[in-house]
Amino acid sequence: MNGFDRILGRTKLALRLIAIVGLMAGLHAPSARAADTTTKPAVDPSCDKWLKRMSDYLAQAQSFSVNAEIWQDVNLASGQQVQAGRNITLQVRRPNLFHAEMHSTRHHRELYYDGKSITLVNRDQNFYGTIPAPASMDEAMDTAIERFGIAMPLEDLVVSDPYQSAMKKIVSGTDIGPVTVLGTPCEHLAFSLGSVDWQVWVEDGARPVPRKIVFTYKDEENSPQFIALFSHWDFEGKLPDFLFNFEPPPGASKIGVAAIKAQNDAQKKEGK
């Protein structure tokens, strides 16, 4: 065997090694990625403890009511960003009764869920519309948004297991530290949901309820924020049945509730 053959032989061996090592590495990378998606989000222990504490407190409450003042950024056609406000009063009786009343300067709306259906009410124009809903509140929330584009207001507080529901979406979380919200001592937690940042201020005390929530939508134009300030948390008051059962007021008109598919179909039919 001359020098050239020897070099050729060594090169062949090296190429075989390259192929084998490359194949093994290629196989390893996707499995590492798959393993990565199943790992827990990067939430620091203190942050996790506070989130769990708040979530468990809300999940264990058989009934509660709360007021929320919402401020939300809106981009006007001129390019100006402004904040619009509204108030929400929420009443919840687990496992499956929900009532929310939304007030703003120009609108007065309500949403009822009674374990069988969701009813939307436009008090200004005396319209209402009803859609059938699953018996479980969690499923009702999913149906409402997935089929009708309706987000049950502040649903993260109402879901049966707020901790698990949030952790499914949380990518990372950190405990920013103690701070007061409207004079109430709170712990400030900051989470990333990927393209959306979420902050929550949890009351520091025997009643670990959220006092403030901020969403920052980094994937939307001008990164608008959704801010909720909570007050009048009540876990003791009676919430009678009639609060959750909608009775159409005199002269009310029943109107349709467009399903997401129907909205698209309506657009397609136009002009044909």
């Binding site: 006007l76 939307l120 929330m141 948004i145 393209s195 939307e220 467009a258």
Partner: protein
């Protein structure tokens, strides 16, 4: 000499093997280092140190949600393919400034900029800035999207005539997606972009508008509330949880 030549060849082959073997890891690491964007991905940075920096070069187009304030349903809607500007648009014309409705739960005192047209309202004089426009042999005066015709020594507001072409959209246009084209909705009139401006067209049937045309008359048809404006009926319907109006044939 021969031996060192052999070693240098072997060294090169081994080096190449190492690079190829490491390549998937390097690619994977590069992927992980990408900033979080879209619906998921890795966190930018945790723990208050230096945030990961986002390269603006490949930023995806912004999304527009109709629901906010929820972790459970935080995902953005499926991306909507925006239509390319019509080929009839002259290169020097700036794109129309129109509002694209987003989250309907938001109640902002949005100055639509509409002139709040009122059919039959009379004026002793035309507003300043009106110009004459002839549509189908009939003369109109037009000022910021409101049309007038002479009457009894004054002027009265009339429905926007189909076919009229304005050089610019009136203020407060709302962008409405139709199946084949984009409409601009102002004061109850629908406009489409044409070569020399924006043309008023008959109200398309089946589109959903966020506000009723001003002065639309309420009707009860078979026990159902509808509104009528300029020969088109509008049916109230809950869309994404709030009342909007779908155009239907009368």
């Amino acid at each position: 000499m021969k031996r060192s030549h052999f070693f240098s060849r072997n060294f090169l082959a081994a080096g190449l093997a190492a690079v190829v073997a490491a390549l998937p890891f390097l690619l994977y690491a590069a992927e992980r280092a990408e900033p979080a964007r879209g619906g998921g991905g890795e966190p930018a940075h945790i723990g208050g140190g230096q945030p990961a920096h986002i390269a603006p070069a490949s930023r995806p187009a912004p999304v527009q949600r109709v629901n906010h304030g929820t972790v459970r349903h935080v995902e953005p809607p499926a991306p909507v393919e925006r239509r390319a500007p019509p080929s009839i648009r002259p290169p020097n014309r700036v794109p129309p400034r129109a509002f694209r409705p987003g989250d309907p739960q938001v109640d902002v005192h949005r100055d639509w900029g509409w002139r709040h047209f009122s059919y039959g309202r009379r004026w002793s004089a035309l507003p300043s800035g009106c110009f004459t426009i002839v549509v189908g042999g009939a003369s109109f005066y037009c000022g910021d999207g409101v049309f007038y015709q002479p009457v009894d020594g004054g002027y009265q507001e009339v429905y926007p005539p189909d076919g009229a072409v304005l050089p610019e959209l009136p203020d407060g246009a709302v962008e409405i997606d139709g199946p084949d084209q984009t409409y601009y909705y102002v004061d109850g009139a629908f406009y489409v972009e044409v070569g020399n401006g924006y043309q008023i067209v008959q109200a398309p049937i089946g589109v959903i508008v966020p506000e009723l045309p001003p002065g639309a008359a309420q009707l009860i048809i078979n026990g159902q509330v509808e509104y009528q404006f300029n020969g088109t009926n509008y049916l109230p319907v809950f869309v994404n949880g709030v009342t909007q109006y779908q155009s239907v044939a009368p």
